[in-house]
Symmetry: C2
Subunit: 597 residues, 2 copies
């Protein structure tokens, strides 16, 4: 059984001056070839680095002959002697930059066609659909390779950390039960049970809670989750989360654990600076007031300031109308922007309109202290000054206001705040600003469906002293819920859960489920809670998003090996695709006649 074949004795990233004089065999891809002074220089690349090879016709005519045939991305094997480069030709950017291989033997292991985009230089912009179709080439590019390595390291560190803390990683099924609650499920038809379906899990929420009922105490999983949603923004049909649950804990236990984990991950895998090592814990009300969102970017301040109480002082129609409609007036101070041109202010106004505002009210405080604003015609100086004072406006500042419903004010100013920070260059790209948002309401009222709905998920627990409010004042029940935010992205969220069947039933009832529906969909959970369910809580962290932030990427697709397009298509494998009618028949299905192609 003679299958001892040795392709290499070293990788392309490990040779240096210490190895000079040794024979080495490398295998890898031709990153670059240069012909110079009768010699051929090859940069051979693998995952670990790049090593320069010199093919000298006097040393090995055969190697030189083979080298002359080589083109980029050919796979080669080369043997030769490690030698120092000539003084002045070292490459300080390469770990192997002091040495080169004097080739004695060179073999083409596999040729390559010309790649559809360059591999060695990944600053060239490439159309994303081309990158996805040829993902196996895209992943050769240094940045993508580094993203895959970073992802491996982060996930490995998560596992190490949680293992040390006594957590068990437990796999939960992918073939699950469909629950009409929440987002849309991906369904999987059953062949054995005609007309019945499995669903892919949106998260292992119920099973991780059942693992706590099972007494397993500390569970986690790097879990694949699925949502068949329209892929607005930067979403994927399947995504990965760190899913975690603990027994006999309060909110503080879960938050402390995660804080330690996240800090450790950042410190071990990046050079980024964490703004506050003890993550601020901010109430939902505070962040909605101050930032207009429950996932604020805290790398910069630029707070929003409500002036609803001051806005009725004069006779300014824009403000008056908002007040008449039970609305809100809210502003933001843009430091040093008092001198923005009319065009610049108009651009910002256009941006606000795109986001749904009717417009922006501007107030520029000139260096002289003079105020320029449409407001001054309709409001006495004292009223205007009260507003300026409230926003702490100083000479040279620009104040911008939105008058509308609270929702529109917040939605618009939240995004305007970020846009202004970019414009004012207030954002340090090397900083990570993390915080917790807590004190969420348990429920909100869904006007469309005419019922209460869980703010996060129906399993979240609530403050004990608020339980009685479920009947009297359900919108003012505070949940034991916490979200973790990084640079304006919600990277995770969790809660201490309900573990009492009657209370869980009550929450489902508030969501307008009748007893029949509750039993059909969640009967197993309610039953489990009757067999000694311990107090428990947990969290889920979005792995793709978190790694995107660590890798300084703009899209989660750049940290996923084989992502789908925004329209859920796999361009490499060409999925989804039609299937045989035989397959459909076995599944007791047919395409609806009007849609059959």
């Amino acid at each position: 059984m003679g299958f001892e074949v040795y392709y290499r004795t070293f990788t392309c990233g490990e040779l240096g001056p210490d190895y000079v004089g040794q024979q080495a065999t490398l295998a890898g891809w031709v990153n670059r070839r240069r012909d110079h002074g009768g010699l051929i220089f090859l940069d051979i690349r693998d995952r670990y680095g790049i090593t320069q090879v010199v093919c000298d016709p006097e040393r090995s005519p055969e190697s030189h002959r083979v080298a002359a045939e080589l083109r980029s991305e050919y796979v080669v094997q080369v043997s030769g002697k490690v030698v120092m480069r000539l003084p002045g030709t070292e490459n300080p950017h390469l770990s192997t930059g002091a040495i080169e291989i004097a080739a004695d033997q060179l073999v083409i292991l596999n040729p390559s066609r010309t790649t559809p985009f360059p591999i060695s230089n990944d600053s060239t912009p490439v159309d994303e659909s081309l990158r996805l179709k040829y993902r196996y080439l895209d992943l050769r590019r240094p940045k993508m390779r580094d993203n895959m390595i970073l992802r491996h390291r982060v996930v490995k560190l998560i596992r190490d950390y949680l293992d040390e803390q006594g957590f068990l990683e437990i796999e939960t099924p992918i073939l699950m039960k469909s629950t009409p609650e929440g987002a849309r499920d991906y369904l999987v038809p059953s062949r054995i049970y005609s007309g019945e379906f499995y669903a892919l899990p949106q998260s292992p929420q119920q099973l991780k809670q059942l693992l706590m009922v099972a007494g397993l105490d500390r569970y986690f999983q790097i879990a694949r989750c699925f949502r068949d949603e329209d892929q607005r923004a930067d979403r994927q049909p399947e995504f990965t989360q760190l899913d975690l649950e603990m027994s006999f804990v309060s909110e503080d236990d879960v938050m402390s654990l995660i804080e330690g984990l996240v800090i450790s991950l950042i410190e071990k895998t990046t050079n980024k600076r964490i703004k506050e090592l003890s993550f601020p814990r901010l109430s939902y009300k505070h962040v909605m007031d101050r930032y207009g969102t429950d996932h604020p970017d805290l790398r910069f301040d630029l707070p929003l300031v409500e002036i609803t109480d001051l806005a009725g002082a004069g006779n300014f129609g824009v403000f008056k109308n908002a007040l008449a409609a039970q609305g809100m007036v809210k502003g933001i101070r843009v430091p040093g922007a008092g001198g923005y041109s009319r065009k610049e202010v108009e651009e910002l106004t256009e941006f606000a309109r795109m986001l749904g505002a009717k417009g922006l009210v501007s107030l520029a405080i000139q260096a002289s202290g003079e105020v320029k604003s449409p407001l001054t015609k309709f409001m006495a100086g004292q009223g205007v000054q009260a507003i300026i004072d409230r926003l702490e406006g100083k000479p040279g500042d620009l104040l911008l206001f939105v008058a509308d419903s609270a929702k529109v004010c917040n939605d618009v100013l939240f995004r305007l705040r970020v846009k202004l920070a970019e414009r004012l260059k207030l954002i340090d790209q090397n900083e990570l600003a993390l915080c917790w948002v807590v004190d969420f309401p348990l429920l909100h009222y869904d006007e469309e469906a005419q019922r209460y709905d869980a703010e996060h998920n129906p399993f979240s627990g609530m403050d004990e002293e608020h339980i009685s409010r479920l009947d009297s004042d359900p919108l003012n029940v505070r949940a034991k819920q916490y979200d973790i935010i990084c640079n304006g992205y919600e990277i995770g969220g969790g809660s201490v859960r309900i573990n009492v069947a009657a209370l869980q039933h009550k929450v489902f009832s508030l969501m307008n489920m009748d007893d029949e529906q509750i039993k059909e969909q969640f009967g197993h959970m309610l039953e489990a809670f009757e067999y000694g369910a311990p107090p428990h809580g947990g969290i889920a962290l979005g792995i793709d998003r978190f790694i995107m932030l660590l890798a300084d990427e703009e899209s989660i697709r750049d940290v996923i090996a084989f992502p789908k397009t925004q329209s859920a298509m796999d361009l490499l494998m060409n999925a989804p695709s039609p299937v045989d009618d035989k397959q459909l028949r076995e599944l007791h299905l047919q395409i609806r006649p009007e849609e059959r192609r």
Copy 2:
């Protein structure tokens, strides 16, 4: 934000004599309650152990009152002082058996109904469907809890080992493309692309090869795989494999790596003995000849011996008929079984018939040397003796023969061999006998489909010197394939792959695929091979099966947290289940009218 609640200061597994005199708070389940001499003794259980609590009405009347209410599986919190147990009442079976807690405070955190089966005593046999319906209770039982812990440890050790060896764990998609090759796919209808489907992966085979083309060099994944097959034997619709691929390797590199991994896992997680630390590498032909199977149990010898060439010597009809049909005669020596009663031999014969044999020919060598066999009437003594000699029969032995097609002979004798080993008590339950099977044929001929088919998968490479045989003698092309066997189970298999487009195309052609089909199904692979595909190979190990062997379980369901039944049903969640017609409409599907319920 007052959410600092401390449920416990210790787990139920950590207190011992060193802690005597300290106050401790524990939380857990009531494992057992005993009332004795006016005191109430509680065994409180969590994942980590059991601690005894004594409720003395003189020390804490309230705790004693609460304790009197307690029943099994109530969740409680208890505070008290760690004290030594009275001499003579220590429990050496518990790590905490020297101490107990003198209760000062006892709180019921959650009561429990009477469980449908006992938790604290897991030797009670329980109907499996009941266990699966109440899996959250089944997992509380000590053996199941230990299986989950073992599984976590094994998988963590795999990751640690491969990380140290430079492997990257890379996630591949679950929403893939359907390929009619191989087993039946689970399909997932697309909402966006009417009439099109994703498929759940049977393995990440193609993507891991593409990761090698991407230059990532060493990949692994603990990968979920799916097969919609009838669940004969001990299979699950979804299962987990260690999926692994390496670049620039020969068969030996992969096998050595896996051998090191498997030995390390066994040594770190069990007390089992590995029969041979350097796993024997046996050829496919050798194991088929000697054991009648390509996954032999090597904990015992009991070889099969072919006597086809000797079987025609006399005029024994059973042998003659097999020979006339181009069949085989093969036997096994059962040491010391020469004195088996007619009834015992008849039982073995019945067993062979169940497996498809027409019968068994027996030959008993009595202590005296006298031979008792139907054979003696039809074959000269010399002929009989030649057969006895071939099997190395000794006085006191029983020889058993099957005369049939090679397939039937092997299928029957393979299982008969295992049954005999059990009967003769030749199997050491504490031993793990591992081996590699190599030198597989690349292809076999599928009589039913009238075409060649890959013995393992169509991506397996072949001996370079055999490539030309693809045209002349395809059945004699040797694959670069290796299977790893443990105690008669195939726990893994892999190969060095094809990395040349033309050769891969040739193999698909031999499997009767036309150019159109090849392009449609595997075009992306063939194209990838044209862009510098390195030599590569890998393996997949069945995690469920391997952990089952380590845990001494009989079924993989006992090492999976939430398995499905043999008929692919989830009894806990009740999946699969019917879905709303709205969901089906969104997927452009309807149930076939004749099947609609």
